[in-house]
């Protein structure tokens, strides 16, 4: 655990998965994990394995759906895609995170006398 990597806040992984699926369409677990790593320039501390807990959680909530399929390179894999409920949730969560990060930004930029 090097200092240079970001530890994931609770709930952020779920949001990342939703966002990834929303943008990329149908994707398997490895694809999602790779995509998140690429987007974050490998700054996110992600044991790829942990993504499966998030995937089953999102599935249980009905936000994503899963289906076995065949990948481009002819490999059997489970493909995930976002559902309508998932899209709605993503919209809600995105607003929430945006507001939170803006607010945190302001707090952290606070200067004396302000």
């Amino acid at each position: 655990m090097t200092d240079s990597k970001l530890d994931l806040l609770q709930g952020t992984l779920d949001l990342m998965v939703l966002q990834t699926l929303s943008v990329m369409g149908s994707l398997h677990g490895y694809g999602i994990a790779r995509r998140i790593e690429q987007i974050s320039d490998d700054t996110v501390l992600l044991n790829q394995g942990t993504i499966y807990a998030a995937l089953v959680r999102l599935q249980h909530r009905g936000w994503i759906a899963a289906e076995w399929g065949i990948s481009d390179n002819n490999r059997k894999a489970k493909f995930y895609s976002i559902t309508r409920a998932g899209k709605k949730q993503l919209a809600k969560d995105a607003v929430y995170w945006q507001r939170l990060s803006e607010m945190m930004g302001r707090v952290l930029n606070m200067e004396a006398g302000e």
Partner: protein, 895 residues
């Protein structure tokens, strides 16, 4: 990594459903996951190899990026299924293994729990059946019992005439309907004839609308029609379900068929449902076989005969109905043909009482006491189990310490211990349930216990829920103590080979001592309560009933006196011959006939008074009336001053009467009753004797006024032959019945009952409670003894070394024993002192249930102290002996 954003309710519900579904599809999902992860790694390896890594390095890198495969799987499973349940199952499996390893502990614990929980379920079932469950009638909360407050003159003062009933029914505005039944039928008052030997049966006359008012529907056929209650209607009956099964083999074809009752063909119009048991509601302990409609026009001159039940209109309260009854009551005639009987009932205001309250209200206090007793038992069981678990936990300190050291959380350990106690508790509950099934089944078939709704006692869904609830509560109670104890123990200290440190051991012991003291104190309370109730019961058995129940028996006899003007004469002849022949049977000392036996049905008609003397209304209680033959008083073992009736006291002789002491003493305070004249119901009679008061209606109350007439001078209702013998009364059954059948071929096969049985029936509710409470107390004391034994024995084991050193240094066997017993006595003494104080309070609480026994009864308290003291000494003596046999050499060598 759980989302903290607010989730929608539907989303959460869906998650719960999906999680539960996943819980049951573990295997498939795990397989799925494995495959998915494999393909994940394959993707990664492929990509790495594309970047030019060797296959081995590609695989290594892929694994690194993936992280721990097992952790990932575990994490996924946690998010997927029901991790709590998984842990519980795991804990439960472990608990079962641990418990099976320690068989003797498990056996004792499960047995104790089974007895405690079983007793609780059984009592709950009784309470539920008698107090809680509504009566088995439609909208039973609308039903009310309609009678004046109970008084000294028995059923006759709680009933109404046919005219009063009709008038009340017509004039009231608050009732949907009012129904009644003839309250003076005795058991086996009907004969089923025409099919071989006449069979006795019990029939009750009910008003035509009785079942409609209660809301009872027949299973076959129909209820009574109004024309069937008219004068001269053809006779019909409804059969009780049990009688129908027994007598007619449950044949629905009997409906519409005539059966011969008392020689008259009577049509069966229907069969009542099994849920309707007249006896269990209105006359606990009695079985009723048939119902016939009252022909009120025939009954108008009979006086107060109907016990009334009303159904209040749905939108009215009982208080509103009461107000209505208060208006109607003064307008009632005793007999409409007697104008001056208007207002006969206004002195005895009718009090409406919810039927449920009438049926079981009196049983509430004893049942609550019973429930508390059984609850106390459960507490003692829990304390005992906590104690056993603590002792066990002490021997398992290392196991727990090891688990703590290996990273188990304290919560996890407590959880483990609670699971163990839950497994124990559920095993105990399962066995307890079986015990409770046995007890309730036994009770439900105890027709001889005069408790209402007894036949409906069963372990039902409510009881099952109760079982689960108390099992869980018990498990929490006795599991949390050792749980807290263990989780607080010091890992370092425990892992050292020397076992628990000294300070820990002492704290441990203090906890256990506290538990034992509370156990002893609770056993104290139970013992005092049981002792007081037992003493009361013995007092009740000791009551001078006014007759001698032992060595006497009664049987219902049939006779035909022609039922006309000469009947009195004829009865005299029939009974005289019958008694002469019965008394000739070897073993019969004396015999007599009465129409109503004491402690069974009773009736009263007016009161005797001195002619010309003015009595205030209500000054004299209504007198119980008995029609007897010469010899009856002697056969019952009643004590008579003056002379008995003779066969010469016939219809043409001087009207004579025998008074009981209460009546004679009131009317003739100068003690000159014998030979004086009294007037009763307008007739002058000479008092020829005074007999000791007889408990006519109950054993525990004070007797009222009683009068006896010779059977030749008044019309008796049926006849009970009473015989007194030196032999066991049952031995006479054959010869007496044979003789009766010889005299009258129509004699039915009536039951030959000992008088003692009648008395036993009357005291059966008290016997029932006493039996239960005493067995609880015995169980409680046994548990307390076990608790004391456990603690003392454990401390001896713990202190083996110390005792060994002492003995090596010269302590004598006696000293060692004394030391151990001293410990025991200290524990017991503190428990007894606390318990006595608590018992004192409890005893005051149950004072109303006691009979002839003060709540502070010194014998009971002394007995309790003696019993508990000696039990404690015994429990302490066994370990003390063991302590004194410790071989110092061995003790010092071992560790």
């Amino acid at each position: 990594m759980r989302g903290k954003e607010p989730k929608s309710v539907a989303g959460s519900a869906r998650e719960v459903v999906n999680r539960s579904r996943a819980f049951f599809r573990k295997k498939r999902l795990d397989h799925d996951l494995n495959e998915e992860m494999e393909s994940h790694l394959d993707f990664a390896i492929e990509e790495n190899m594309r970047r030019g890594l060797s296959q081995e390095e590609a695989r290594r890198q892929a694994m690194i990026r993936f992280g721990g495969v097992m952790q990932a799987k575990e994490l996924q499973r946690e998010s997927r299924g029901l991790p709590g349940v998984d842990v519980f199952i795991q804990d439960a499996k472990y608990a079962c293994r641990i418990l099976l390893r320690d068989k003797s502990f498990t056996l004792i614990a499960v047995l104790i729990l089974a007895l405690g929980i079983g007793a609780n379920i059984a009592v709950f079932s009784v309470v539920n059946a008698i107090l809680v469950r509504p009566l088995p009638f439609r909208d039973s909360q609308q039903l009310v019992w309609m009678a004046p407050a109970a008084s000294k003159c028995g059923f006759s003062c709680e009933t109404y005439t046919a005219d009063a009933y009709d008038e009340f029914r017509a004039m009231n505005r608050a009732f949907q309907d009012v129904a009644g039944y003839f309250a003076f039928s005795s058991s086996d008052n009907m004969k089923l004839t025409g099919r071989g030997q006449p069979k006795p049966a019990t029939g009750i006359l009910v008003t035509q609308n009785f079942f409609q008012t209660l809301g009872v529907e027949p299973v076959y056929g129909r209820l009574f029609l109004s024309e069937e209650a008219r004068k001269g209607a053809r006779p019909v009956v409804l059969l009780a379900n049990a009688f129908w099964r027994r007598q007619f083999a449950g044949d629905p074809g009997i409906v519409g068929q005539p059966i011969d009752i008392d020689g008259k063909p009577t049509t069966v119009v229907g069969v009542l449902p099994e849920s309707f048991d007249f006896g269990s509601v209105f006359s606990p302990g009695a079985k009723v076989d048939m119902f016939a409609p009252t022909i009120l026009d025939d009954m108008r001159p009979w006086g107060n005969i109907l016990a009334l039940v009303g159904r209040v209109k749905p939108d009215l309260t009982v208080a509103q109905a009461q107000a209505d009854a208060n208006i109607v009551l003064p307008k009632l005639y005793f007999n409409v043909n007697m104008p001056d009987s208007l207002g006969s009932y206004k002195d005895k205001p009718m009090q409406l009482m919810a039927l449920k309250e009438y049926v079981s209200g009196k049983l509430r206090p004893p049942l609550i006491v019973l429930w508390c007793a059984v609850g106390t038992i459960l507490l003692i069981v829990c304390v005992n189990l906590a104690n056993l678990m603590l002792a066990r936990a002490a021997t398992r300190t290392k196991e727990f310490a090891l688990r703590l050291a290996l990273g188990a959380g304290r919560i996890r350990l407590i959880r483990q211990l609670l699971t163990e106690s839950l497994v124990l508790s559920l095993a105990g509950a399962a066995l307890g349930l079986a015990i409770a099934y046995g007890i309730t089944d036994f009770l439900a078939h105890q027709g001889s216990i005069a408790l209402p709704m007894l036949n409906s006692i069963r372990v039902d869904g409510d009881a099952l829920a109760w079982t689960v609830a108390i099992a869980v509560i018990a498990a929490a109670l006795f599991g949390i103590v050792p749980g807290l104890k263990v989780s607080r123990s010091d890992v370092q200290e425990a892992l050292k080979d020397s076992g628990p440190g000294m300070s820990e051991g002492r704290k441990h012991e203090r906890m256990r001592a506290f538990l034992v003291i509370s156990e002893v104190a609770m056993a104290c309370v139970l013992l005092v309560g049981a002792g007081l109730l037992l003493r009361s019961f013995l007092r009740v058995l000791d009551v001078d009933l006014g007759f001698q129940p032992s060595h006497a028996a009664a049987v219902k006899v049939d006779y035909d006196d022609g039922n006309n003007a000469n009947s009195g004469e004829r009865r005299g002849i029939i009974f005289r011959e019958m008694l002469r022949q019965v008394e000739a049977i070897p073993g019969v000392e004396s015999a007599g006939v009465v129409d109503y036996l004491p402690l069974e049905r009773n009736r009263s008609w007016g009161s005797p008074g001195i002619k010309g003397k003015h009595y205030e209304p209500g000054e004299r209680p209504g007198a119980f009336v008995y029609m007897v033959t010469p010899g009856y008083l002697q056969a019952m073992g009643m004590r008579l001053h003056g002379r008995d009736f003779t066969w010469d006291d016939g219809p043409k002789g001087e009207p004579v009467i025998i008074l009981n002491h209460a009546a004679a003493h009131y009317l003739f305070p100068a003690d000159n009753a014998i030979g004086s004249m009294v007037q009763m119901n307008g007739e002058d009679r000479r008092v020829i004797g005074v007999i000791q008061d007889v408990h006519e209606a109950n054993v525990e109350g004070t007797p009222g006024w009683q009068v006896y007439f010779p059977v030749m001078q008044e019309n008796p209702v049926g006849a009970e032959l009473v015989v007194r013998t030196k032999l066991p009364p049952e031995a006479l059954a054959g010869s007496v019945m044979g003789k009766l059948r010889e005299l009258n071929p129509n004699q039915s096969a009536a039951e030959f009952r000992t008088i003692q049985k009648i008395v036993d029936h009357a005291v059966s509710p008290r016997r029932f409670f006493v039996l239960l409470v005493v067995s609880f107390a015995v169980f409680g004391v046994a548990l307390a003894a076990l608790g004391i034994y456990g603690v003392i024995s454990y401390s001896v084991t713990q202190r083996t070394q110390e005792i060994g050193i002492r003995m090596a240094l010269g302590a004598t066997v006696g000293r060692v024993q004394l030391g151990v017993i001293g410990n025991t006595v200290r524990l017991a003494l503190v428990g007894i002192v606390l318990g006595t104080a608590a018992s004192y309070l409890v005893a005051r609480g149950i004072a109303a249930l006691l009979f002839g026994t003060a709540p502070t009864d010194p014998i009971t308290f002394a007995g309790m102290i003696l019993v508990l003291g000696s039990v404690a000494l015994l429990a302490g003596y066994i370990p003390a002996r063991r302590a004194s046999r410790i071989n110092p050499m061995v003790a010092l060598r071992n560790n």
